[in-house]
């Protein structure tokens, strides 16, 4: 039943590696080709629609491709990149991306997720279920809906100011005065569930005897957390931080709905800057150069993530 036409596999199937080393027996080669056959639809899709655009990204980042009014784009070398690093709007976007990532992912989602998960270890079941349900619902909602809900929350006439008024605290137009803070909070609201679930799973795997022993020895809650729990879940912390950061780097819809990157660029992170350059300013080449930088940062994190996981594969 292994009889199959060797040509069947198509050019995209990973054929080359089939074996310079595995010997001259063509039967082996044919068998590995046959076994690789089912992988080919996925590989074709991935090559055409994922690897293709990435390669294309690298190519047009070095051109002055524009959206309109230009017959032929030309190769401009590193112009787009040098331009970016002299462009104040770009540097502003880099800074805001950094602020957004540190505030919402590293500090917000991560710490709050861990706090919720460890409280859940001790809480009663109904409270645990209720809180978990609410936090996870925020996570499952489509990003535009989440963006809209938090837009309503932070608007001048929205819920946050209503609460502040009620407490006789000064209210303000959050989306106008502190837009990056507002969108960071929005991202915490939306993304904390992921950390919470990861940390809940990690904490559940810590053997009870270990914490009980420490407790009997009189270690206080904070010291147990610092000296026992955190070291035991450090791998989960690493992977969670990586994934959160990558997620946060590519947030677009949430910020777009809440502020469109405004006012005057005060919440314009790199994805929104990229979009503005490519489409509002019609500079596809420049926008792509920014995209390439974003992709490089992402790949860097991705490689670190792989190293953290290296024993798993």
């Amino acid at each position: 039943m292994t009889a199959t036409a060797p040509g069947h596999a198509g050019p995209e199937v990973r054929k080359a590696p089939a074996s310079p080393a595995s010997g001259p027996r063509s039967g082996t080669v044919r068998r590995s080709l046959f076994r690789a056959l089912p992988v080919s639809p996925a590989v074709v899709l991935l090559l055409l629609f994922l690897a293709g655009p990435i390669v294309y990204c690298v190519v047009i980042a070095f051109t002055d491709l524009q959206l309109t009014g230009q017959a032929q784009e030309s190769f401009v070398g590193f112009d787009n990149f040098t331009r970016a690093f002299k462009d104040e709007a770009f540097l502003n976007a880099v800074w805001l991306t950094l602020v957004f990532t540190v505030l919402s992912s590293l500090i917000g989602q991560n710490t709050l997720g861990l706090a919720l998960a460890s409280l859940m270890q001790r809480a009663s079941k109904p409270v645990r279920t209720l809180t978990g349900g609410i936090v996870v619902t925020a996570w499952v909602l489509p990003e535009v809906v989440a963006g809209f809900l938090l837009y309503a929350f932070f608007r001048r006439e929205g819920t946050l100011n209503a609460i502040l008024d009620w407490l006789h605290l000064p209210s303000q137009n959050w989306l106008f005065t502190l837009p990056i803070l507002a969108v960071s909070f929005a991202n915490v609201w939306r993304g904390t569930a992921f950390s919470m679930l990861v940390y809940s799973a990690a904490l559940n795997e810590i053997p009870k005897e270990v914490t009980e022993a420490a407790e009997v020895d009189g270690a206080s809650g904070w010291r147990r957390m610092w000296h026992i729990t955190l070291p035991m879940i450090r791998r989960s912390i690493g992977t969670n931080l990586m994934l959160n950061t990558l997620q946060t780097l590519s947030v677009f819809g949430l910020i777009w709905v809440m502020t469109r990157g405004g006012p005057s660029g005060k919440s314009q992170t790199l994805p929104l800057f990229m979009y503005e350059q490519a489409f509002q300013n019609s500079l596809i080449g420049y926008g792509t150069a920014v995209a390439l930088l974003l992709l490089l940062i992402g790949s860097l994190f991705s490689v670190v993530y792989l190293r953290l996981l290296r024993t798993e594969v």
């Binding site: 690789a36 899709l45 629609f49 994922l50 409270v127 809180t131 499952v140 009997v216 992402g298 594969v313």
Partner: protein
């Protein structure tokens, strides 16, 4: 070690707090902490539910002065709700189907046969899993314009499937690894082909796994805004994730009650689907090895 487990007369026991009462106090404190967090998280959600039922909805959480379904009535028209939802369904359904079929096929040899290619392939897949897809949307747009695939459902479906595939393959492979190989070997001895054994033995045994990948892919795409926002142009092809934007831009005065009603109608399917699979996912939050620490 056992020595450590027997309580000692420490200062704490001297204060006569038995371990049980201490545990109770800690539980109360934890409950209080969680309830505060829950209250903070629930505010935006409460707004959408209350406003959808409120004839005079504003941006503020408030108890409606009268409950009405008018907001739902107003949006449940072909133009506002049904066409976008149908578009979402075609788009996400098509892409999910493509993703799952490709992922099952790809996962099979990766899980069943040893090859020196498996590891590099899986590492590449895992690497691609965490690439920020947002970053490549501008070049994807440029590429789609060049090959005339811009503003086509097929093009968007293909791209959606490709972007979801790495994670789907990874998850699927992990689920498939859970099906013991011996069962299949028996079938092979009886003369079944690999394809037959995949279809008749492996897939039925990993039904829940396939369901998880299907639902997860669907939920991810259903909520995705940027991909259809970039790749589709004509209004009659827009899925709900993009058409919800119209409430802001083109309809003049924003009718908050209607917007809230639409948000609920649009979100309900994915929330329900998530609840459906959350037992599978939530137990130890399996999501494959991807989040294992």
């Amino acid at each position: 070690m056992t020595d450590l487990l027997t309580p000692r007369p420490t200062s704490r026991t001297a204060r006569r707090t038995t371990p049980a009462s201490r545990r109770n106090r800690r539980r109360t404190a934890a409950d209080a902490g969680l309830l505060v967090a829950a209250a903070a998280f629930v505010l935006p959600l409460a707004w959408v539910v209350l406003s959808a039922l409120d004839p005079h909805a504003s941006l503020r959480v408030k108890v409606p002065d009268g409950v009405t379904l008018d907001n739902f009535d107003a949006i449940l028209t072909p133009e506002i709700t049904f066409t976008p939802l149908l578009n979402s369904l075609v788009l996400c359904g098509g892409a999910t189907l493509l993703t799952v079929v490709c992922a099952v096929l790809a996962a099979y040899p990766l899980s069943r046969f040893r090859s020196r290619l498996n590891r590099p392939f899986l590492l590449t897949i895992l690497f691609a899993t965490s690439l920020p897809i947002t970053a490549i949307m501008v070049p994807v747009y440029a590429l789609f314009v060049r090959v005339n695939m811009i503003d086509t459902m097929q093009g968007t479906i293909f791209f959606f499937a490709a972007s979801q595939l790495p994670f789907a393959i990874w998850l699927m492979k992990n689920f498939m690894d859970g099906v013991p190989k011996e069962l299949e070997e028996a079938a092979w001895t009886d003369g079944a082909s690999s394809f037959q054994s995949l279809l008749r033995i492996v897939l039925p045994l990993m039904g829940p796994g396939v369901a998880v990948v299907t639902v997860f892919s669907f939920v991810m795409m259903w909520g995705n805004f940027f991909v259809p926002f970039m790749l589709l142009l004509s209004p009659d092809q827009m899925p709900a994730s993009v058409s919800i934007n119209d409430f802001f831009g083109n309809r003049g005065m924003v009718a908050y009650g209607q917007l809230a009603a639409f948000s609920i109608v649009y979100s309900t399917p994915v929330v329900l689907l998530y609840v459906l699979i959350s037992r599978r996912l939530g137990g130890g939050f399996a999501l494959g090895g991807a989040v294992k620490g």
